[in-house]
Amino acid sequence: MSTNATHEAETRQTTIEADPNLPTIRIIRDFDAPPEKVFRAWIEPDLVVQWLGPKSTEMRIDKWDADTGGNYRYVAIQNGEEVAAFYGSFHEVRPSERLVQTFTWEGMPDGVSLETMTFEDLGNGRTRTIGLSVVENLETRDAIMASGMDVGVNEGYEKLDALLAQG
C-alpha cells in the first residue's frame, strides 16, 4: 500500500481482516496526523466523545482514567435515553505507541474483548493504526461483525455527510 500523500484518499480507507480460524477482527486505517496526535484523540475524553460513538447517539463518559491499570465506563444516549453502556480497563497506555483495553457491553456482561491498538509512525506526519480485537469464540466474533457492534448503525451517514460538508 502506498503511503504517498497524493494517494491519501485511497490509502486512508479502512480495511478489515476476519481470520476464518481465529476469533479476531483486525481493523487497519491510516490517518493524516502524527502518532502523538492520533493517540491523544484516542485517550483524551473530550476528543474521544467527538468520534467514538455511533453517529445517531451521544456518548457520555462516566469514568475515564486513561493510565495503565485505569478503567473507563461510558454510555450511549439516544433521544435522552441510555441505550447501551460499556466498560473496561486500560491494561496498558503506552503513549503514542500502544493502547491495550478490555471492553464489555453491559448488555452481555459475560462477554469481554481484548482490544489492542497499535500506532505506527508512517513518517510525513502520518500514522497507521492497527486495531486487534480478540473475543471468546468464532460465533461471538461473527455475531459482532454481523451486528456491526454499534448502536443505531442503520441510521445512515448523515452525521458523516454533515462533517464532510463542513470541510
Binding site: 486512508r12 480507507q13 479502512t14 480495511t15 478489515i16 476476519a18 476464518p20 480460524n21 481493523i27 486505517r29 490517518f31 493524516d32 496526523a33 496526535k37 492520533v38 491523544r40 484523540a41 483524551e44 475524553p45 473530550d46 476528543l47 467527538q50 468520534w51 467514538l52 455511533p54 453517529k55 475515564w64 482514567d65 468464532l138 460465533e139 461473527d142 455475531a143 461483525m145 454481523a146 451486528s147 456491526g148 457492534m149 454499534d150 448503525v153 451517514y157 452525521k159 458523516l160 462533517l163 464532510l164 463542513q166
Partner: protein, 120 residues
C-alpha cells in the same frame, strides 16, 4: 443473511480442506470422487466436509442423479462480502469523524487538552 447462517459459513470455511474444496469448485462442478482424488482421505471424509459446506449453503448438488456433481453457490460469498463491507463502512464512518477531530486539533497543537475532571 442471518447471523446463524453467517456463522455457519464462517465455521465451514475455518477448515483448510473445505477451503480447498471450495477453491476447486470455484473452477467448475465436480463429483465427490473427483474432489477426493487429490487428498489422502476417504470418499466418506470428503463427503463429511461436503455436508458441512452444503449445510452452510455454500455447495449444492446438481440434478444429475448418477454423478451428483457438487456446485459452488458463489452468491453466498457475495453476501458475505457485503456483510463484511457493511462492518468496514461503519468503521470507516467512525474514523472519518476521527479525521475531522484530528484536523480540528491543528489549531491548539501546543495547548494541553488533558481534562480529567476539574479544569484549572
Amino acid at each position: 443473511m442471518s447471523e446463524d447462517r453467517l456463522s455457519r459459513v464462517f465455521a465451514a470455511l475455518a477448515d483448510p480442506t473445505r477451503r480447498d474444496i471450495v477453491a476447486r469448485l470455484a473452477v467448475g462442478d465436480a463429483t465427490v470422487s473427483q474432489l477426493a482424488a487429490p487428498y489422502n482421505v476417504s470418499i466418506q471424509a470428503v463427503s463429511k466436509h461436503l455436508k458441512v459446506l452444503e449445510d452452510a449453503g455454500l455447495v449444492t448438488r446438481s440434478q444429475d442423479a448418477q454423478r451428483r456433481p457438487r456446485h459452488l453457490e458463489a452468491e453466498v460469498f457475495d453476501m458475505m462480502t457485503a456483510w463484511i463491507e457493511r462492518y468496514r463502512r461503519q468503521a470507516e464512518e467512525r474514523y472519518r469523524r476521527l479525521d475531522a477531530v484530528l484536523a480540528s486539533m491543528d489549531d491548539d497543537k501546543s495547548k494541553p487538552t488533558i481534562n480529567k475532571g476539574a479544569a484549572s
